[in-house]
Symmetry: C2
Subunit: 413 residues, 2 copies
């Protein structure tokens, strides 16, 4: 069994075929959740499964699966997978590679005639990227989607309703997609790193130790509007300058004291927004991420203390508007061990690292042992420029295959 390898050509053929769907002509794809191009990619996957003579399944959250059943019908299910949707004008690797690699691993097991003590299921989760809700399919499987989230989704209720109609989904169906936790042996995901650490370190595989928690908050600095010509520089209560000072000071502090965290200032609006008026109000969009609940809390405290002190220093007041948070989630030890053992079998270098981005693994970690690997990638993330060498993709798919074989043999718990 240690000699088992995926079929590189078949894997490549599928990946390239899929990348044509919604192609933007520059190496990227445009497959927003439940858009026509995304639905076409889902159809392609379904037909691929059926042509290969495997069992196709779908659920109320419109997740699509290929299933290789175990002999015992009451065996638990080991899930492998990722997602086929993309951000607007995104890359062809993000999500898609994880689905195709998982599917190739499943075919390899089937072709080898291996009989596993688990049902092996490759799943394409609906709406991971958040065009509509974010992690919709995986949270549904985890029984963790709430009516509130469906009532005021991130992409707007109208877009969600339209998408659900196109995919034949109902809200009841989404809720009904929840699986009994005891029915799940685990979940494994392969993904491109979307960051520079593996490429910079020349490392084959990144085993994710945990996925960062993240929170979004708007900081509103309220100063005083003034005539930009008649008000001396030191008589101003400049809300924009307060926001700018906060951005530079916090960046320095995070680089110095929170090296395991990141912060981003994605948007800023100054009011009234005229060349000749000192801004009386600045609204700053802040997102921050940390590897654990403790660090999230420390970072948040530090950010708010800085903001208050800087506002006071500029004669401004601070208001805050919290916009939601996702807790950090550790990957299961059993998954990390399975990945590490697979790397050993395949003689691939590996390291543990933190995921700075959210993934379906976060949702599954709520109900079963869940873990993920990264393969080296360049060109950043959510961009047509994102790229992974094909050899790295093959390495990742083989690690996923062997980790799945390892997980299949381990009793849960």
């Amino acid at each position: 069994m240690h000699e088992l390898r995926i079929d590189e050509q078949r894997f490549r053929r599928d990946f390239d075929e899929l990348a044509e769907i919604g192609s933007t002509g520059d190496g990227g794809v445009h497959r927003p959740s439940l858009s026509p191009s995304h639905l076409e990619a889902r159809r392609w996957f379904r037909e691929r499964i059926e042509r290969d003579g495997l069992e196709f399944r779908t659920d109320g959250a419109a997740n699509h699966s290929a299933v290789l059943g175990a002999a015992r019908p009451d065996a638990p299910t080991l899930l492998l997978g990722s997602h086929l949707d993309s951000v607007f004008h995104g890359g062809r690797f993000d999500g898609a590679l994880g689905v195709v690699a998982a599917y190739e691993a499943l075919r390899t097991v089937r072709d080898a005639g291996l009989e596993l003590p688990v049902h092996l299921e490759v799943i394409d989760f609906t709406d991971e990227e958040g065009t509509l809700v974010g992690l919709l399919g995986s949270l549904a499987v985890a029984g963790a989607i709430t009516p509130e989230e469906l009532a005021s989704p991130r992409g707007g209720r109208a877009a969600l309703e339209q998408g659900m109609r196109r995919a034949g989904m109902t809200e009841d169906g989404v809720v009904a997609a929840a699986r009994a936790p005891e029915s799940l042996a685990g979940f494994l995901e392969l993904h491109i790193e979307q960051g520079p650490r593996l490429v910079d370190g020349g490392i084959d595989i990144g085993i994710v130790s945990s996925i960062v928690g993240m929170a979004s908050i708007d900081l509103i600095f309220v100063g005083r509007e003034d005539h930009a010509g008649t008000t001396p520089m030191d008589a101003r209560r400049d809300a924009g300058l307060a926001a700018a000072t906060f951005m530079t000071e916090v960046t320095k502090r995070v680089r110095r004291e929170f090296t395991d965290c990141v912060v981003n200032f994605g948007r800023i609006e100054l009011k009234p927004g005229a060349y000749n008026i000192v801004p009386g109000r600045a609204e700053l969009a802040v997102e921050f991420r940390a590897p654990s609940a403790e660090r999230m809390s420390e970072l948040e405290t530090s950010l708010l203390e800085s903001a208050r002190a800087i506002a006071t220093g500029q004669g401004a007041r601070l208001k805050t508007r919290a916009l939601g948070a996702i807790a950090a989630s550790a990957c299961a030890d059993v998954c990390r061990a399975a990945f590490a053992e697979a790397c050993g079998t395949l003689d691939l270098s590996n390291t543990e690292l933190l995921s700075g981005a959210g993934h379906d693994t976060m949702a599954l970690a709520r109900v079963c042992p869940a873990g993920m690997i990264f393969i080296p990638s360049t060109g950043g993330s959510h961009s047509p420029r994102e790229h992974a060498e094909w050899e790295a993709c093959v390495n990742g798919a083989n690690v996923l295959l062997h980790a799945a074989l390892g997980m299949a043999q381990r009793p849960r718990g």
Copy 2:
């Protein structure tokens, strides 16, 4: 003649009547250029002139005047005045006080039966605030309005056309409003300070030495969009952070090295503008003002050097978009001396100061000796909160009266 004083009650009655027109109920007025409320204020002024038995005149730029003719028809004209338009929801003192004070000074001269060697003309200039063009009426009188400025005005061509139609103006008329420079003995303006220096110093009158030059420029920092979770803080090329660093550094530098100048950052736009994407582009609206052409040039050089160095430090590029500039203009010595002498006559404390805001005086300074005074005001500028004590208004009107009498006796040149 030294004992001559304006009629405080009559002056107050006119000021209060005028403040009712376009009143916003909170002490402010809303009289954008050539809007119905502005046209109503202009009508009020015309009827006031006619009821007082004075000569009313208008010109192709729709400037309205009250004229007290000299005995000799070929005598030069001494202009006094300001403007009746306001910014959106502005204050009732800005501009209007200058027109009413000038008009009260003219009536005082008429009532005293003084025969001056100049035509005395009180003028209400059209569109000073720039809702449509800015300094439209005064630039027209100075022969300095260009077809280009009328073709792409700051407030948009459609708004200008509508306003001109409402006021019965034509482009040819605007150009024809130019006066022969040799026909003008000078221009004197009274205005509230719109800044804290006179009130803070307990000084009655500010004699403006020069009006600052100003320039607007957009600085565009171009970095790289990145995933805010997967891109380490020090691997980013954050355009927003470059802009914020520029704002804080330049503010420090101007406070230290350019104490006679001001800079303002009125607007900033980060792109793509999402919580979870490091901004790849930041567009920053910068306006700066300096008291002379030399200082304007030094400040501009310093700003651009800082911007380039900071962009480079953040791995970003800099683009610039210049949006126009107005040269600084010194007030005429003869006007400053006339104001100083008037303050002496009236025993009012005074100081020379710089105007940080633009005024009609800038336009007239191109063609004749022009000067202005400020009276103490609080509540900033362009706001219903702007306020001047009535005693300060009376002091200002009396200084304007005596400076006009002084200027009338001096041969030009």
